[in-house]
């Protein structure tokens, strides 16, 4: 299996009131193609910071992050933008769809940013919406959709450029349990049927248990890791 993502002794430290605080303190992590990983831990343990570092949303103060074998540490901002555009998909707790675009346009947006032609964008967005059972809602705007439907559009958007890995930060955090279960089913199906690599941050043990591999972090350090 190919290595999709690799973190080598990554650190993220902040200085607060003259004190140095480590949000992430030297974590090593390797993500292989087809992995389904959950990152768990108590509130403030550094889960989201770790996910941001893995997703090149934030830069580590020490250590290296390699995406598809490429070291992102020395990359300039535009190279990092391209990495996020082509190699990583993001799903957010607050979904963050663009409210003035329809579901279809939201899914097409990353493809347009990648320079994909209009016909191909329409076709691919249509397929993704169909896969996630959202074809009928393609022309609705986010405000006209339920939270669960919005999150499915969010997942479709994350898949738009066929990224190597999807990073999801508390994707069920704002959903009721029934809707959360549906969303988790989507993730499981994507991983099982399409071999999509997934990394989920959650503090919900049930959600975490869906993943084949769970990483538990505490105080910015890897506490333990389990495989199912």
């Amino acid at each position: 299996m190919a290595t999709i993502l690799e973190a080598r002794k990554i650190e993220k430290k902040y200085t607060l009131g003259g004190q140095t605080v480590y949000a992430v303190a030297g974590i090593d992590m390797t993500v292989e193609e087809g992995d389904f990983i959950s990152i768990m831990g108590p509130s403030g343990s550094g889960k989201t910071t770790l996910l941001n570092l893995l997703g090149c949303i934030d830069r580590p103060t020490a250590g290296r992050v390699l995406v598809a074998g490429r070291d992102t540490t020395e990359m300039n901002a535009s190279d990092i933008d391209r990495i996020r555009l082509h190699n990583i998909g993001f799903v957010f707790q607050r979904i963050n769809l663009i409210p003035i675009l329809s579901a279809q346009e939201n899914v097409e947006l990353p493809m347009e940013l990648a320079g994909v032609g209009a016909a191909q964008r329409h076709r691919r967005a249509g397929e993704l919406l169909d896969t996630l059972g959202m074809s009928r809602r393609a022309h609705h705007r986010p405000g006209q959709l339920s939270a669960g439907e919005q999150q499915r559009i969010g997942i479709a958007r994350s898949l738009a450029n066929n990224p190597g890995v999807i990073l999801a930060d508390e994707p069920t955090g704002n959903l009721d349990s029934k809707t959360a279960a549906l969303i988790m089913d989507c993730f499981k199906t994507l991983n099982r049927d399409r071999g999509q690599t997934l990394i989920l941050v959650t503090h919900d043990p049930d959600v975490g248990a869906s993943a084949a591999r769970s990483i538990v972090i505490r105080d910015g350090r890897l506490d333990f890791e389990t495989f199912s």
Binding site: I57, P99, L109, P110, A114
Partner: protein
């Protein structure tokens, strides 16, 4: 269509009231700018038209008077008989000595209540010098006429006087109106004409002239004639119509600069209007921009998105502002006409002013978008994603 243009446009329609108010601000700023510029543009254009039209093309004036050959009454220092010597200069076709007087009565040089210039001139050659001039009413002057006057077309329109009425000079003397010229929107419309001998007599300036009007012969360069006149009469000043036009334009250029300076205040307010709207709009959408960047939008894309939104807003304002400015310039015309009567100029909204209005609006938009774009760019992406 590029997605940032679509996004920009849709974001503006998302907050209609705010966008409309901002557009209104720009409409006013650009409208007033266009309106003010149309005044100076109109004056420039009128001067161009007037001076390029038929009529004299050279002036011989006393030394050290202003470029406009309007020597003051009582300062007729030239000798009338010099006209013969001028006529002898090769290339000179017609010479007309003028003894200038003023009337306090309305009409003037097209500026309503300004004084009317009364040119004391000889009977002959007037219509040769000004081929388009025609008499509309009454009769033309005769050299041996007493205190009579023929009104230029514009002067006549501004005066509620008919043939047989009197035109009073600033010295209190009166001239009987014996005729009026047809208004042709030419320089000669703005004067009244009296027999030179009668005017000289009134002011005790027998045999004197304020200046000479000269028309050069067909096919002869005015510059050449001017050079010959300067050589022949070194103690006097020779001005060409072009000199006068340039001088007038130079003076008006200052007025134009003042107009533009005043309108700059309106434009600054326009910039602040759009900037304020954009700052509010961007501050409300920090997470949205962060999301765009996280899903792969480059910084340039986000900057373009913010600036295109700002430019769209101000360009719409600019377009309607130009229309408003056009209407305003027409209203200014009506007001001038109402308060000052017939004038030698009217406001003019040239394509150049329209383009200037739109370009200024676009520049306003670009500037107003820069700060909000910078605000977004300097934020930490991870923090922006958590922004409430």
């Amino acid at each position: 269509m590029k997605s940032y243009v679509t996004l920009g446009y849709r974001n503006l329609s998302r907050r209609r009231s705010r966008s409309l108010l901002t557009v209104l601000g720009i409409v006013l700023a650009i409208g007033f700018t266009v309106g003010l510029l149309s005044i100076s543009e109109g004056v420039m254009r009128s001067i161009d038209e007037m001076f390029r039209s038929s009529g004299p093309d050279l002036f011989v004036v006393p030394k050290n008077v202003s470029k406009m050959p309007f020597g003051f009454q009582g300062t007729a220092t030239l000798k009338e008989k010099q006209a013969e010597a001028i006529r002898a200069v090769p290339g000179v076709a017609i010479v007309e000595p003028v003894y200038l007087a003023f009337s306090p009565e309305g009409g003037g040089a097209g500026f309503g209540y300004a004084m009317t210039m009364v040119s004391g001139i000889p009977e002959k050659d007037f219509f040769k010098m000004r081929p388009t001039a025609t008499l509309e009413k009454g009769r033309w002057l005769k050299d041996d006429d007493g205190p009579v006057v023929v009104l230029g077309g514009m002067v006549a329109e501004n005066m509620d006087k008919g043939l047989g009425d009197k035109l009073e000079l600033i010295t209190g003397q009166k001239l009987e109106i014996i005729g009026r010229l047809k208004k042709n929107n030419e320089a000669y419309d703005m004067f009244a004409y009296a027999p030179i001998k009668a005017v000289q007599k009134m002011f005790g300036g027998s045999g004197r002239a304020s200046y000479f009007l000269i028309k050069s012969a067909d096919g002869v360069e005015t510059k050449e004639v001017a050079a010959r006149l300067k050589a022949a009469f070194p103690k006097q000043d020779v001005q060409t119509m072009n000199d006068i036009m340039q001088q007038a334009k130079k003076m008006l250029g200052i007025a134009r600069g003042i107009h533009f300076g005043v309108s700059c205040f309106a434009l600054i307010i326009g910039v602040l209007f759009v900037a304020c709207t954009m700052i509010m709009s961007v501050a409300e959408r920090v997470r949205e921009f962060a999301t765009l960047m996280v899903i792969g939008a480059s910084r340039a894309y986000v900057v373009k998105l913010i600036i295109s939104e700002s430019i769209t807003l101000s360009a719409i304002g600019g377009l309607f502002g130009c229309l408003f400015g056009y209407i305003l310039s027409k209203a200014i015309n009506q007001l001038i006409h109402h308060f000052f009567g017939e004038t030698f100029f009217s406001t003019y909204v040239s394509p150049r002013i329209f383009i200037t209005g739109i370009v200024i609006a676009v520049i306003i938009g670009a500037f107003a978008g820069l700060f909000p774009a910078y605000m977004i760019m300097k934020r930490n992406l991870a923090d922006s994603l958590r922004y409430e």
